[in-house]
């Protein structure tokens, strides 16, 4: 089936109407020797029922865990029912980019509301309509901070490895340099940063909480960065912003992050959501689409895609980013999530993440040979040493629990509001059992 509604008789009629007698003539500009002979090596088309069978069988080959204690950039949070149903609505789902404002007020207003929520969450002045994910948001931020004189980007070695590598890739593209600031005790090495903040540095990126779950001293990092005349970029976990000091209050010039925790499923890594916000001063350098408020010819309030002269379709090779499609539906999902949670619900989710992670940490580190790897406050992730690591993680998996992620120096654990105390107790008991063997 190809979803073509015209009947064979209608197709013949249409061919005749355009003055042709065969399909071949539609492709008469295609040199004959290039036309495919015979059929593609694909299976024959399937009915809806069969497609369902084939893909369900593939889905079954994945292990389903009842408890996920792994984060590292993708977090298992509770997704409220409304957050799933709204973005699945036919209209939101199947619309294109809202270039025609007269027909797209729903999409435009939803983006305007999203931009406002991201500003509220981060404390920044201006948000764009989204970029692909947290890693590309970091890379775009690095690009927007560079100017003619300052070309080099610094990134904390305690950032997510995929973020570092993505920023490195974007820098490779433009031929600019990326330098990684070393890590000391699981956090950005402040002294090393001080040394590295030379006059050619455009910006410094720190992740809060960092890859190891630890809280960085962002105020101090921001001050150091600004003192050297560079811009300060923070990569934030949006749920943590329910309780953590805003990037604005930490002095950030650009706040970015991975929006997946805001109601998006793990989904084997995507689609996710990159959010990006900045201060009034840097508004014009923000890449991607931005929705603005205006009035229509009758004087009524309405919304349009605005400041478009920054973008590739107008600025072409002079645009600082080539981004066109973004993650609009994921941004809608995130705003429904934030609206459903409300200010109190978001704070509660953040507090419970922290509470559960600390409970898990206490339970695990009470076991012999399991020790907290790094000192200092953390949010909902932490690294421990773990004897007989492979065995422990295998035992957890056999019991429906995805344990922490093996990283250098141990295992990176995560807990969120989604896990009950009973689930955490079960995981701790299983680890204890293996270690006691």
């Amino acid at each position: 089936m190809s979803y073509v509604p015209s009947t064979p008789a209608q197709r013949q009629e249409m061919l005749r109407a355009v003055g042709l007698s065969s399909w071949r003539e539609l492709y008469r500009d295609v040199p004959k020797e290039m036309l495919l002979e015979g059929e593609l090596d694909l299976p024959t088309g399937m009915s809806e029922l069969e497609v369902g069978r084939v893909l369900s069988a593939m889905a079954e080959k994945n292990t389903r865990f009842t408890t996920i204690l792994r984060g590292a950039g993708a977090y298992d949070h509770y997704i409220p029912a409304l957050v799933k149903s709204i973005p699945a609505k036919e209209e939101f789902l199947t619309a294109y980019t809202p270039y025609q404002a007269e027909m797209s007020q729903g999409v435009l207003q939803s983006i305007f509301e999203y931009q406002t929520m991201i500003c509220e969450l981060t404390g920044m002045d201006v948000s764009n309509a989204s970029v692909y994910d947290g890693a590309t948001a970091a890379a775009e931020a690095a690009a927007m901070c560079r100017d003619r004189k300052r070309r080099v980007t610094l990134i904390s070695g305690a950032a997510h490895p995929d973020v570092i590598n993505t920023v490195r890739t974007y820098c490779y593209g433009t031929g600019d340099e990326l330098r990684v600031v070393p890590v000391k005790d699981g956090k950005t090495d402040m002294e090393a940063l001080r040394e590295m903040l030379t006059p050619e540095i455009a910006s410094f990126y720190v992740q809060q909480p960092n890859f190891f779950g630890l809280l960085e001293d962002c105020d101090a990092l921001g001050e150091l960065t600004h003192a050297a005349g560079a811009l300060f970029v923070m990569g934030c976990n949006p749920i943590s912003l329910g309780v953590l000091k805003t990037p604005r209050d930490c002095g950030a010039d650009v706040a970015v992050g991975e929006g997946q925790p805001l109601g998006l499923p793990l989904g084997y890594g995507g689609p996710y959501l990159g959010f990006m916000a900045t201060t009034q001063k840097h508004m014009r350098k923000l890449p991607g689409r931005i929705v603005g408020e205006t009035v229509d010819a009758k004087g009524e309030r309405c919304y349009v895609l605005s400041l478009q002269a920054r973008e590739q379709h107008i600025r072409r090779e002079k645009a600082s980013s080539n981004i066109c499609s973004n993650e609009a539906l994921c941004a809608l999902t995130a705003s429904v999530y934030l609206a459903v949670m409300g200010p109190q619900g978001l704070k509660e989710a953040a507090e419970q993440c922290m509470a559960k992670a600390h409970y898990l940490m206490r339970g695990l580190t009470a076991l012999p040979g399991v020790e907290l790897r790094y000192p200092g406050p953390f949010f909902h992730e932490f690294v421990t040493s773990l004897p007989r690591q492979a065995e422990v993680l295998a035992a957890l998996e056999q019991n429906g629990i995805l344990g922490g992620l093996p990283v250098e120096g141990g295992v990176l654990w995560c807990a969120t509001e989604k896990q009950s105390r009973a689930e955490l107790d079960k995981a701790i008991a299983l680890v204890k059992e293996v270690l006691a063997k």
Partner: protein
């Protein structure tokens, strides 16, 4: 369309007036009318070097962006920051609204007189 005789013009539609060795630069009436409503002006920084025939900034309308090409080689000594808040001045009064001032001018493009420029535009 207005072409004041006391100004000199570049083929890229900038006007220039020399004031005590300082080049005062703006865009012509023709340029603003081709652009339509100007919504933003990207200005260089004071101290930036300019090169004759090279862009020093750009002007944005809703659906287009155009380079501002500098007719002289020198150093930017002043920018019209008023334009950041009121870019419409370029539409309303293109010859009364300068964009940048350039000092230490060492080189100048071949410029046109008002008469020559008008001929160029109406061609």
């Amino acid at each position: 369309m207005n072409y004041p005789a006391e100004l000199q013009y570049s083929r890229d539609h900038e006007w220039l007036r020399m004031e005590d060795g300082i080049a005062v630069i703006g865009i012509s009436d023709f340029a603003q009318s081709e652009l339509g409503d100007v919504v933003f002006v990207n200005l260089p920084e004071v101290g930036d070097d300019t090169t004759a025939g090279e862009p020093f900034g750009d002007v944005e309308s809703v659906k287009a962006v155009s380079d501002l090409v500098c007719p002289v080689t020198g150093t930017v000594c002043e920018t019209n920051e008023e334009l950041l808040d009121a870019p419409e001045k370029l539409n309303e009064d293109p010859y009364g609204t300068w964009i940048i001032k350039v000092e230490k001018v060492t080189d100048t493009e071949d410029l046109l007189t008002a008469e020559q420029y008008e001929a160029e535009c109406t061609h």
